[in-house]
C-alpha cells in the first residue's frame, strides 16, 4: 500500500536518543497521502536475557517506577543440532501456529520482534491478544518476550529504494536475529529464526557471512525437538502442503467454489448498494441453508446451497449479492445435517465430485438492475412466502476458532499406519466436515478431539484443519464436559497465580472487623468509616438447597408508622475485586459463572465466591445493602443504598423457608419478618403482572445425581414455591431501584439491561399455526396484550397446551441484553418481559460481572468511593457489555447442553413411552417435544413410514400425511398434536453423539 519517498535524516538528540522520520505514502480511496511521523531510536532497550550482563545496566524504570523483568533463561532448551538456543519467530509462524506457540511442551525462550507483533496486530487482533497474553503470563515456563527492534538504534533498518514493505520487514527481523546472536555469543546461546519463507531463509544465509544464527522452517524445527512426533501432528495443515513438493495440486480441479470478489469490487459494491454485508446464520435444521440479516430488509435474506454459501461458516461476517428473481425461494422445509450428507466422500480426493459444478454461470447483472432487484426483494418479503436469495461473494471476517469433534470411522483406512487424510465431524451440526492430516488416525478413533481450521481453498470441497489435542474417549464424562465447555468458549482453566495473588492474604481466616471505628482497621481500610453496621438486623438468606455462593440476604421489620422497612443485602464483591487488578480482568473476561449439571465453573475464585463474599449465616460479612421503606401496598416510600456489615441469622433453602412461614407455632421476629416479606412480595408480583410482565415458560428440567456414584439418577421438571418468588420479587425491586440510581448518577455509562419488544415477524409462523389449528391468536400490541392473550391460549382438554404455547412464544422473543446507557435512548431501556422502564443486574455479583460493574457504579453514585475511569468510558463499557452478553449466552447454551447430555445418559437406562407434542412439521419429518425430559427431537419420514414418497406435506395446514409402518390407513400429524412417542437414547455411529431418538407409537 505504501512506497518509500526519500531516505529520512537522522538527528541525534542526546546520549542514546536519535530521532528520524518515518515517511510513507498511504493510498486510500484512490488518493495518495504522504504521512510523516517521528520515530525515536534508542539505546536503552534490553535484550531481556538473564545471562546478559550488559543490559542490566541500561534499563530505565517505567511510570510506576518498575524495572523490566529479565525473562529469557540463562539455560534455555538444548537441541543436538542447535545447541542452547533462543527462538525468533516471524509473522506467518505466529499467525499460523499460535496454538503451537501456546503449547506447554515446545517453544521456550521465544523472542517476538516488535515488527512481528505489529504485523500480527494488523492481520488478526485475536491472535495478537493471545500472543500478548503469552508474553505477559509466561514468566517462568514458556518465557516469551517482545523485543522492540524498531526502536533500537542498533536493529532499526531503513527501507531501501524499490524494496517492498514486506522485504524490509523481513530484513528487520533478520537484523534482529543478527544483533541477538552477536550480543549473546559470549554466553554460548544461539539464535534460531523459525520462518516458513524460503526466500527469507536464503537471504539470511547470504547476508551473514559467518552465519552467526541459523534459520529453520517450522516443520524442520519441530522435527528436531525431542517430542517431534507429537509436535509435528499439531503443525497446521497448510504448512505441510506448501513445504512439500506435492504442492502442485491438480490445476484442473479448480472451479469447485467460485472465487471471492476482489477487495475493491466488494468495497465498490457495498458503497453503490449492489452488495450487502452481514453475519450469516446457518440453519440448525439444514446446514446447506443460511440466512443473513440485513438492515435494509425486513426479513433475513436466504442463502441456499453449498455453492451460494461459498465456504461461509456459521456466524462469519460475509458480503452477499442478491440472485436474480427466478432463483428466489421459500425457506426449505427439508432438514439436512452434514453428518449424514455425503458420508462416502473420500478424504483423499482433492475436491470436486461433480455434484455441484453444474450450476454456476449466473448472468451478468448491471448495477442498475441490481438496485431494481433490491426493491423487488423488499416488496417480495412483504407480500409472499418466497424470499429473496443471495450468494456469498466475499468473507470479511472468519469466525474460526478451535472446534471439538471426532474422526469419522469410515474415513480412516486401517491399513495405513503413516500420515493419512481423515474427516472430522464437528459437534456443531451447522458446520461442515473438516479434513485433517494425521498419522495417529487409528489411535484417535472414538475420541473427542480438538481441531483448528487452517484454510478453505476454493478447490477443496472441505476445509483443511489440523489436530490440536485429544480430550478423551467419547461418552466419558470428563471428555464430554470439557468438549462442551470448549464448544461454548467457556474459560475453565484454574485461576492463574497472578489472579490468586489478588486475594486477601488471610485466606479463609479473613474476618470482618468487629468494630468499625477501630483505629487499626481504619488505617488498613479508610473506607470502613463509611460502612454502616447492620449486624443488629434480623437478616436471613433463602436459596436453593445446597447453595454455597450466597449472593443475597433479606430482612423486613414493621416500622412504628405501619410501613415496613425492607432490606436486600448483596455480597460486597467489589470490596475484594478492585478495578485494574488481574482478578478483575479475569472476572471481566469470564463474565459469568457457568452452571453445569455436575460442575460449576466459577467467575471468581472459590475463596471469594463460597466464603469471603458469600453471605453465610452466623458470621460477619460485608454487604451492599438496599433498604426501602415500603407502605402496606408495597409502594416505595423511600430508598437508601449503603455499604454495610451484616450478620445473617440463618440460611434457608426454599423449602425450609416455606415450612417456617407456614408453621403457625413460629412467632419469633425472624419468622414475622419473613411473613411480611412474603405478603409484600405477593403484592409486588401482582403489581408487576398488572402492568404487563410476562410469565413465560421453558422446558427446563433438573437432573438428580446419585450422590455416591455421581451417576445421573432421574429427571425432574423444576418446581416453584412461593418462597422462590419471594426472593425473586425483592431482587427485581432492588435491581430496578439500583438501575434508577446509577442511571441518575452516570447518564452516559450506567450498566443496564434491556429487553426489546419482539418484532411481529417473529410471531408470524406461530400465529399462523395457532390460527389454523386452534383458532387462537397472540396479540403483540404491548406486553400486557401479549400476557393476556397468552392466558387465553388454553385448551380445556389439555392442561399442558398453555405451557407449550408459552415455551414456543419464548423462542420468538428477543434476547435480553446488557448495555451502557449511552448506547440507547431512554425509551429503548425498557425491559419488555418484566414490563419496567429501566433495569439492571445488581443482585448476583459473585456469579455475574454486570453486577460487579453495577456495584461499583452504585458505590460511585452514593459517594462511597470514586468510580474508576474504566466504567465511565463509553468505549470501555461497550467492550464490557459485548463480552458479557456473549459470555452470558454461551453460559446458557453450555448449561443446556450439559442437561441434554445427562438426560441422554438417564434415558440410556430407561427406555419408555412418553407424551410428546409436535411443534414443527417439515417436508421430511416432524419435531416433537417431550415435556418430561425437556428434550425435542426430529422424527424423520424414513422412520415413520416405509413409503417415503407417499408422505404428503401440507404447508398451509401444517400437516404431514403418511402411511405408518405396517398399517393400512394413512395417518395425519398436525402441529400441536399430542402424540405418544417411544423415547430411547441411541449412539449415532457416524458422529458418536448420543441423541434422544423418538419414535411415534
Amino acid at each position: 500500500m505504501s512506497t518509500p519517498v526519500i531516505a529520512p535524516r537522522k538527528k541525534r538528540l542526546s546520549e542514546g536518543l536519535t530521532v528520524t522520520q518515518k515517511v510513507f505514502i498511504r493510498s486510500r480511496n484512490g488518493g495518495a497521502t504522504k504521512i510523516i511521523r517521528e520515530h525515536y531510536l534508542r539505546s536503552d532497550i534490553p535484550c531481556l536475557s538473564k545471562s546478559c550482563s550488559q543490559c542490566q545496566s541500561i534499563v530505565v524504570p517505567d511510570a510506576k517506577n518498575e524495572l523490566p523483568n529479565f525473562v529469557l533463561s540463562e539455560d534455555p532448551q538444548k537441541l543436538a543440532s542447535l545447541g542452547k538456543h533462543y527462538v525468533v519467530v516471524d509473522t506467518n509462524i505466529v499467525l499460523l501456529a499460535i496454538d503451537l506457540l501456546e503449547n506447554p511442551d515446545c517453544f521456550f525462550d521465544v523472542i517476538v520482534p516488535q515488527i512481528v507483533l505489529d504485523e500480527v496486530r494488523n492481520k488478526s487482533y485475536p491472535v495478537y491478544t493471545r500472543l500478548r497474553t503469552l508474553c505477559r503470563d509466561s514468566d517462568d515456563k514458556k518465557r516469551f518476550i517482545v523485543f522492540h527492534n524498531e526502536f533500537n538504534e542498533k536493529t532499526f533498518v531503513d527501507r531501501l529504494p524499490n524494496e517492498t514493505i514486506n522485504d524490509r520487514n523481513d530484513r528487520a527481523i533478520r537484523k534482529t536475529c543478527e544483533w541477538y546472536a552477536d550480543h549473546l555469543k559470549s554466553y554460548g546461546i544461539n539464535i534460531v529464526l523459525v520462518t516458513n519463507d524460503r526466500l527469507n531463509r536464503e537471504a539470511a544465509k547470504k547476508e551473514t557471512k559467518e552465519e552467526n544464527y541459523t534459520t529453520r522452517s517450522l516443520f524442520k524445527y519441530a522435527d528436531m525437538l525431542p517430542n517431534a512426533d507429537e509436535i509435528k501432528e499439531l503443525i497446521p495443515n497448510l504448512d505441510n502442503f506448501s513445504d512439500s513438493s506435492d504442492i502442485l495440486i491438480d490445476e484442473k480441479s479448480d472451479a469447485t467454489f467460485p472465487d471471492y470478489y476482489s477487495t475493491s469490487r466488494v468495497m465498490g459494491g457495498l458503497r453503490s448498494g449492489g452488495l450487502y454485508q452481514g453475519n450469516i446464520q446457518i440453519s440448525e435444521y439444514n446446514f446447506l441453508e443460511g440466512t443473513v440479516s440485513l438492515p435494509r430488509f425486513s426479513k433475513p435474506v436466504l442463502v441456499v446451497g453449498q455453492k451460494n454459501l461459498n465456504r461461509a461458516f456459521n456466524s462469519d461476517q460475509v458480503v452477499v449479492e442478491l440472485l436474480p428473481e427466478s432463483e428466489w425461494k421459500a425457506p426449505s422445509s427439508l432438514t439436512l445435517d452434514s453428518e449424514h450428507f455425503d458420508i462416502n466422500d473420500n478424504p483423499d480426493a482433492q475436491g470436486d465430485d461433480g455434484d455441484f459444478t453444474g450450476e454456476g454461470t449466473t448472468a451478468v447483472v448491471s448495477d442498475k438492475q441490481r438496485r431494481l432487484l433490491a426493491k423487488e426483494a423488499i416488496l417480495a418479503q412483504k407480500s409472499k412466502k418466497i424470499q429473496p436469495t443471495a450468494k456469498v461473494v466475499s468473507i470479511t471476517r472468519r469466525s474460526w476458532r478451535q472446534y471439538v469433534g471426532q474422526i469419522t470411522p469410515s474415513s480412516v483406512d486401517e491399513k495405513i499406519n503413516g500420515i493419512q487424510n481423515v474427516f472430522v465431524i464437528l459437534m456443531d451440526k451447522c458446520l461442515p466436515k473438516i479434513r485433517i492430516r494425521t498419522r495417529r488416525a487409528q489411535e484417535l478413533l472414538g475420541k473427542r478431539i480438538v481441531i483448528s481450521i487452517d484454510s478453505w481453498p476454493a478447490n477443496h470441497k472441505y476445509p483443511l484443519g489440523h489436530f490440536v489435542r485429544d480430550l478423551g474417549d467419547v461418552e466419558s464424562t470428563e471428555a464430554e464436559t470439557e468438549a462442551l465447555l470448549l464448544e461454548h468458549d467457556v474459560e475453565y482453566r484454574p485461576f492463574s497465580k497472578k489472579v490468586l495473588e489478588c486475594l486477601p492474604s488471610e485466606g479463609h481466616d479473613w474476618k470482618a472487623p468487629v468494630q468499625l471505628d477501630n483505629a487499626d482497621e481504619l488505617a488498613k481500610d479508610p473506607l470502613l468509616a463509611k460502612r454502616r453496621d447492620l449486624r443488629d438486623k434480623l437478616i436471613c438468606s433463602i436459596d436453593p438447597p445446597g447453595c454455597v455462593d450466597i449472593d443475597d440476604a433479606l430482612h423486613a421489620k414493621k416500622l412504628p408508622n405501619g410501613n415496613y422497612e425492607v432490606g436486600v443485602h448483596i455480597a460486597d464483591v467489589t470490596h475484594f475485586v478492585k478495578t485494574g487488578t488481574a482478578l478483575d480482568g479475569e472476572g471481566a473476561s469470564r463474565g459469568t459463572s457457568v452452571y453445569l449439571v455436575d460442575k460449576r465453573i466459577d467467575m471468581l475464585p472459590m475463596l471469594l465466591g463460597t466464603d469471603l463474599c458469600s453471605l453465610k449465616p452466623y458470621v460477619d460479612r460485608f454487604a451492599f445493602s438496599v433498604i426501602w421503606e415500603l407502605d402496606q401496598d408495597a409502594n416505595i416510600v423511600n430508598v437508601d443504598f449503603m455499604k454495610s456489615v451484616i450478620k445473617s441469622r440463618e440460611a434457608f433453602s426454599y423449602e425450609q423457608a416455606q415450612l417456617r412461614i407456614d408453621d403457625p407455632n413460629q412467632t419469633d421476629e425472624l419468622t414475622l419478618g419473613m411473613r411480611a416479606l412474603l405478603q409484600l412480595s405477593i403484592k409486588l408480583k401482582q403489581k408487576r403482572l398488572d402492568s404487563g410482565a410476562l410469565n413465560l415458560a421453558s422446558p427446563e428440567v433438573k437432573v438428580h445425581m446419585d450422590s455416591e456414584t455421581a451417576d445421573p439418577g432421574e429427571v425432574e421438571i423444576k418446581k416453584l414455591l412461593a418462597t422462590n418468588s419471594l426472593v425473586e420479587e425483592f431482587m427485581l425491586l432492588a435491581n430496578i431501584s439500583v438501575a434508577r440510581k446509577i442511571f441518575d448518577a452516570f447518564p452516559q455509562t450506567a450498566m443496564l439491561r434491556r429487553h426489546a419488544a419482539p418484532p411481529s415477524t417473529n410471531f408470524e409462523t406461530l400465529n399462523e399455526m395457532l390460527q389454523k389449528r386452534k383458532n387462537m391468536h397472540i396479540s403483540l400490541e404491548s406486553s400486557k396484550a401479549l400476557a393476556d392473550s397468552l392466558d387465553r391460549c388454553v385448551d380445556p382438554k389439555d392442561e399442558y397446551f398453555n405451557t407449550l404455547v408459552r415455551i414456543m412464544s419464548t423462542r420468538c422473543m428477543m434476547a435480553a441484553q446488557y448495555f451502557y446507557s449511552g448506547a440507547y435512548s431512554y425509551a429503548d431501556f425498557k425491559h419488555y418481559g418484566l414490563a419496567v422502564d429501566i433495569y439492571t443486574h445488581f443482585t448476583s455479583p459473585i456469579r455475574r460481572y454486570c453486577d460487579v460493574v453495577a456495584h461499583r457504579q452504585l458505590a460511585g453514585a452514593i459517594g462511597y468511593e470514586p468510580l474508576s475511569l474504566e466504567h465511565r468510558d463509553k468505549h470501555k463499557m461497550d467492550m464490557i457489555c459485548k463480552n458479557i452478553n456473549r459470555k452470558h449466552r454461551n453460559a446458557q447454551f453450555a448449561g443446556r447442553a450439559s442437561i441434554e447430555y445427562y438426560v441422554g445418559q438417564v434415558m440410556r437406562n430407561n427406555e419408555s413411552i412418553e407424551t410428546g407434542y409436535v411443534i414443527k412439521v417439515f417436508n421430511n419429518g416432524v419435531v416433537v417435544l417431550v415435556p418430561k425430559f425437556g428434550v425435542e427431537g426430529l422424527i424423520r419420514v424414513e422412520n415413520l413410514t416405509d413409503d417415503v414418497e407417499g408422505a404428503v406435506f401440507d404447508e398451509v395446514e401444517f400437516k404431514l400425511t403418511f402411511k405408518p409402518k405396517g398399517a393400512a390407513k394413512t395417518r395425519d400429524v398436525y402441529v400441536f398434536q399430542k402424540v405418544d412417542v417411544q423415547v430411547k437414547s441411541v449412539l449415532d455411529p457416524v458422529t458418536s453423539k448420543r441423541k434422544a431418538e423418538l419414535l411415534l407409537v
Binding site: 511521523r37 531510536l41 532497550i45 511510570a63 510506576k64 496486530r121 500478548r132 470514586p866 465511565r872
Partner: protein
C-alpha cells in the same frame, strides 16, 4: 483501532519515546526581523510554527485603544496544508470555533504574564502561522509566543512553557503527538517559569480527579525542561547577536 500499541507493556510509545520524554524541540529566534518586531520559528516534534509579534504600536481602530494598558490581540492561522490531508473547508478558517477558542485561551494565558500596563494606548499584535501540526498544538503555540515576545523585547514576568500530557489507562504520557492525542484524553498546561504556577490548564474529555495530580506533576516537570531548552536557545541567540552588534 490504532495500528500500533499506544503504550506497550515494555513501556514504549508509538513513536519510540518513553512516558516521560519530550519530543525533539528546536527553535530559531528573530527569524523575520524585517516583517515583525519579534519573531520565532519553533519545531516541537512535527509541529512547525512561525510566530510574529508586532508592537507595541498605535492601534488602527479606536476601539482597540485602552487608556490603562496595551491591548493584546492574538490571531492563529492554521494553514490548510498543516495536516496530512489538505483541509477541505472552503470558508475562512479564522472564524472556526476551535481556532477562536484557542485564541481566547492564549490571550488569557499571556494577559497576566506580559506587563501590558507599561504600554498604555498601544496594541500588541501576535500573529501565528501553523505550518505543520502533529498533536499538542496549543502547548507549542505558547512556547512560540513566549520566544517571540522575548525577541520583541516586551516586558514579561517569566517564561511560559506549554506542554500536553495524555493519560493512557493509569500512565501519564508527556508531550503527546497526534496519534496519541486521538487515542486518549489530554491535559494542556501553561507553566510560569520554574514555578508550579499554572497560567493555563485545559482538559479535553475527562480525566479522573485522582489521576490528575500525577498528570500535573509530570506535566510541570516537562514544562520546566522546555523552559530550560528555550532559555538555552535564547541565550545562545543573544550571545550571537551581541557579538554581531559589537562587530559592526
Amino acid at each position: 483501532m490504532s495500528q500500533f500499541e499506544v503504550y506497550s507493556p515494555e513501556g514504549l510509545r508509538m513513536d519510540g519515546r518513553r512516558w516521560n520524554e519530550l519530543r525533539r524541540f528546536e527553535t530559531s529566534i528573530n527569524t523575520h526581523s524585517h516583517a515583525a518586531d519579534g519573531s520565532s520559528y519553533l519545531e516541537q516534534g512535527n509541529n512547525k510554527i512561525i510566530t510574529l509579534v508586532k508592537g507595541p504600536t498605535e492601534p488602527a481602530l479606536r476601539s482597540q485603544l485602552d487608556q490603562t494598558k496595551a491591548t493584546l490581540s492574538i490571531s492563529v492561522n492554521v494553514t490548510k496544508f498543516s495536516k496530512f490531508e489538505r483541509s477541505k473547508s472552503t470558508g475562512n478558517t479564522k472564524n472556526e470555533r476551535r481556532i477562536l477558542e484557542m485564541q481566547t485561551a492564549l490571550v488569557r494565558t499571556f494577559e497576566k504574564n506580559l506587563m501590558l500596563n507599561l504600554y498604555p494606548r498601544t496594541i500588541i499584535d501576535i500573529e501565528i502561522h501553523v505550518l505543520q501540526q502533529d498533536g499538542g498544538i496549543l502547548g507549542s503555540l505558547i512556547n512560540g509566543i513566549t520566544l517571540a515576545c522575548i525577541d520583541a523585547g516586551i516586558a514579561m514576568y517569566d517564561y511560559i512553557s506549554g506542554v500536553s500530557i495524555g493519560l493512557y489507562d493509569t500512565t501519564p504520557l508527556l508531550d503527546v503527538n497526534s496519534l496519541e492525542e486521538a487515542a486518549m484524553s489530554c491535559v494542556t498546561l501553561g507553566v510560569v517559569g520554574k514555578s508550579e504556577k499554572l497560567s493555563l490548564l485545559q482538559v479535553e474529555d475527562k480525566i479522573p480527579l485522582d489521576r490528575l495530580e500525577n498528570v500535573l506533576a509530570i506535566g510541570i516537570a516537562g514544562a520546566h525542561r522546555i523552559r530550560d531548552l528555550m532559555d538555552t536557545a535564547l541565550r545562545a541567540h543573544a550571545e550571537k547577536r551581541v557579538l554581531n552588534a559589537s562587530k559592526r
